[in-house]
Symmetry: D3
Subunit: 234 residues, 6 copies
């Protein structure tokens, strides 16, 4: 495995990042065309946190957190640390001491395919985490890895400097070059959804609002009564 | 896959449904003879909710929520929407806009073998959800399915109009025809458990209360001291 | 399966047990040399509980909780009930009535490879549980098992009288004979971590504090700029 | 759990069953409209077997095979034994002695959500099995269940007397009442596929044969060269 | 984690070990009283192998096979190498070169909670493997572990010198002290099963042979016709 | 999701690809520095196949194989079709008719994160498949996706034109630009392993051959006898 630490990654405009955080994961994912999700194996360790930041990426060996130590130095205010291991591992390679060091630097949270520990402390510190497990399992510092190289995190590729948005719905990655267009598309979607919300609060049906009745008919879907559906048990 | 929307399903008496909700999933499941459970893959997305309602069932294609749009129109006050896909999928096919439309109609919650998203909003709206995942993954509206046909949800078959009870212990389905007898059996069980609870609060042992000492002996179980159990390490 | 109930297990000194509880799972696990963990399949059912106690162990048949009934009588103040089944099962073999009986006896919590139910009540009673599932599934009382024999719980062997520590990071087992030395090692670790925490709060880097820069170099890890890393997309 | 053994189930015409076996699982599933599959958790224990038969269904308690003993008596030539447990279990509740008894009666195979054992013998006897695991774990005979009641097997409901078809692609259930129409639809599909196969062997494209180019265009899918797709790394 | 290599483990009598191999996993597991199984996560990588041997145990760090290198030297003819990692890992820490070295020493196979690779070669060499995965993932040689200490392998504890039996039904561990009694019990079971087999080949029913009809009645199980079971759809 | 079909992907030199196939997955993965693996969720559907080819990549919607139809036209002799869906799905989106069309074009196999069906036919045709499941579940042709864009396949990113090597140990991806250097490194590794193999066949130990005894000592690992290890049960 290549051992590389890239020191000068480019980041997106902070105000764009902060604006993406407001919209949350589901909206940003839709705005991108329904791509970019990490998927539900990496889940929130707390309820109600919503953050966005620039990815500082880490590729570790399973059972080893040496490269997280190296990555802390590469982090700055507004970043999110994103950790993957080169084969699956649920070990608790991240805990409260790392969170303390990252908080000092203004880092906004951690996303990891491995586990986290000191969960009570992370919640008390208000340092949000998305991980595959809560797991006390300790790790060693023995094997090479990389910092700020592209990594696979669940179903997504995350490159250093990409924008990571995370909340209770999961984690989404916005490629750095797409930050502005994704923000615009998110805002458009929010506006559209506001109209839909108001309509549904008044009892409108999405079948009508989205003109879906014709599609149902085209697909051959029939409306029947219980009685008409003689063969009712299937 | 048959495309059918059944429009006039029969429902159980609402007062029976409401009384079942009070007893909760574990009691109702026991009262039915330990059957009817969906099982732990479909878990509560919030803590402390307990609801019961008439099932409006939806069978979707994976990655597609067209039929949920069609199902909203079939829902009325006191219902619970129950969604399955015809092959496994964790996509977030249900979110806050659907919940808004369903709240208007008096629907009490959602049970789905897929994922839900906008989890923060669902909790804030007090619209409870039981799902296989919190997952922002969006879906399309392209493929036929059915509304109000029997569906397999985890280990249970749920028919339209069956009573679904859901709380932190999971989800149970009471066939509509069994609603009254299950309520009576639930009440009997609650009464019996009240006696057991009082006894245990006083230090009684279930071994004695349930006459289990004879069974232990019949099964050949021996009481030994650590010393007597020479071979103590196995 | 042998049917044995061992009645007079030895326990560790209660003050040692209580002191271990203060340190929590991650610290105790590290103090033992990174062993003894049950692992993340057995997870906390509540947030924020932290307990330690002497293990009273139960080996059940899947779908059967007869031996938990037998185990209650063997419990005393300061114990934790630890349950495994001889093949995997997620059934809800433990609930509020058992918790009531155990609270009377001063038991501090339950750790089980199976499921628990009546979760709302367990939380309200402040009786903490670590389990593989929240699951209403009921069980029978029909098949022999054992109480106070060594059992496999996730990745750990737990013997009767061992100290079990449990919190939001999972569950760890301290062999009874190692209680004192583990407590001393935990205290040493806590002291060491206090120093590290203070340093990190001041912006020190673990790379420096742990002298890791030399190791990175020995492993051939190079610091490069984005520009230098021509082949930057891998 | 209800304890019922239904003794006189109706079965489909044997020649129809045998004709369905020839077509195999994928074809029959398609012919039914893409429903009825058990799904890949229940997989073949051998390679190359393909059978169909009338389902004799068994609902067992986990870790218990009492009801399989009761079910043997209900089996006749041309049947397939189908076993589920009322909560998930991988125990090896079926092995060579059961297969011996069933072979005597002309039973064609076993489908089970639990495990099977004596796998070497089952293969040598040419008694095919579809199961969730190869697992030596033994079971008891202690708890009630039912024979010939509808059961949930993976994603399918199987009723006694339904036709079960099983091969290397999995297991599909054809409701008894649909046997004839499914056979006709299977034959039509086989004929249609023969034409497609011949065309593809000659180099025809399914894009053309199925008139899919228009659909691709309608969905907005564009053909581009590597050069045109400037942003080629996403 | 303790770093220990125990050099002079005691082994059972080889003729007893060889006799156990003949009986296979299911029989030996039953003869022990239905305990000792590793469980189906560790599965055979080939079909039809059946071996028994003395366990040389290895505890590795995840992603690291250093201790397997150390273990080879401790192996002798008739042994089986048994490997676990102190947190879950599917990496391919064992392959053809290790098998070559072990074959030279007369070792009979490998059982590992991790993965194996060079699977084609292992099959060609007739060196049987039971593992959690076929996985090319390479490992490092960097972190301490132990050889010939007790380890947890699936649901079983395996101590150095215990007898491991493995075939297509899985892996079972016989404690060294129980080798003789387990062999006798296995032989008794084989004799008993021969009688049962002959009876079933003649059409006898296990219901009668095991006197189970009374138990069915005691459990309240009723024989009904389809017609009598009015409520036939549940 | 972007809908793009890239029509003119660059491929590596065919003789290099063929030479990589000879070395197999484990060797190529090691030669690359232990990266590039898909991982064990995508496993071989047959035994003993070993192929390499240029990746033609497909990104499908779950439950939909429209884009595989589009991809066939982009395939040429020496290619391997590589399929992922944008959220997890085990549906059988690939079967014998696709294999027939691909064989005509000289395609060497299929790698898919979804399922395959017609498994008996695929084996008979000698068209090798690596998939997440054998599953008859049919799919629709309704939703847009892409052909020849980078996709995430298990833990690996595969770009169109990358070299995919697959055998019984799994699937590895060699970036096109690294084909030559990886081949050279593979050849070097094979040569080195030949020496090791010969040594091990003569009884040499890898501890000596790799100079690992010093490392064991540095890590504090001690050789002890059973007797010296008083506390022998841990």
């Amino acid at each position: 495995m290549t051992g590389i630490i890239v020191t000068d990654i480019a980041r997106a405009d902070q105000s764009t990042i902060d604006a993406l955080a407001v919209h949350g994961v589901a909206t940003v994912h839709e705005a991108m065309g329904r791509i970019g999700l990490v998927g539900p194996t990496v889940h929130p360790i707390q309820n109600g946190a919503r953050v966005a930041g620039s990815a500082v990426t880490v590729l570790c060996w399973p059972g080893d957190n040496l490269m997280i130590h190296a990555a802390v130095e590469q982090c700055q205010a507004g970043d999110i640390l994103v950790v993957a291991s080169n084969s699956p591992s649920l070990d608790g390679s991240f805990g409260e001491l790392f969170a303390t060091a990252l908080k000092y630097r203004g880092v906004r949270g951690i996303v990891t395919t491995a586990g986290v520990r000191d969960v009570v402390d992370l919640r008390a510190m208000d340092f949000p985490a998305w991980a595959s497990a809560q797991n006390a399992q300790g790790t060693v510092k023995a094997t090479a890895g990389s910092v700020n190289v592209p990594i696979v995190v669940g179903g997504a590729v995350i490159r250093p400097g990409d924008i990571v948005v995370a909340d209770d719905d999961g984690v989404v990655c916005v490629p750095r070059a797409d930050a502005e267009t994704t923000l615009l598309a998110s805002e458009a979607r929010v506006a559209k959804e506001a109209g839909a919300r108001a309509a549904y609060q008044n009892g409108d049906l999405s079948l009508d609002r989205n003109d879906l009745r014709g599609l149902l008919a085209d697909l051959g879907i029939r409306y029947v009564t219980q009685g008409e559906w003689a063969d009712g048990d299937r």
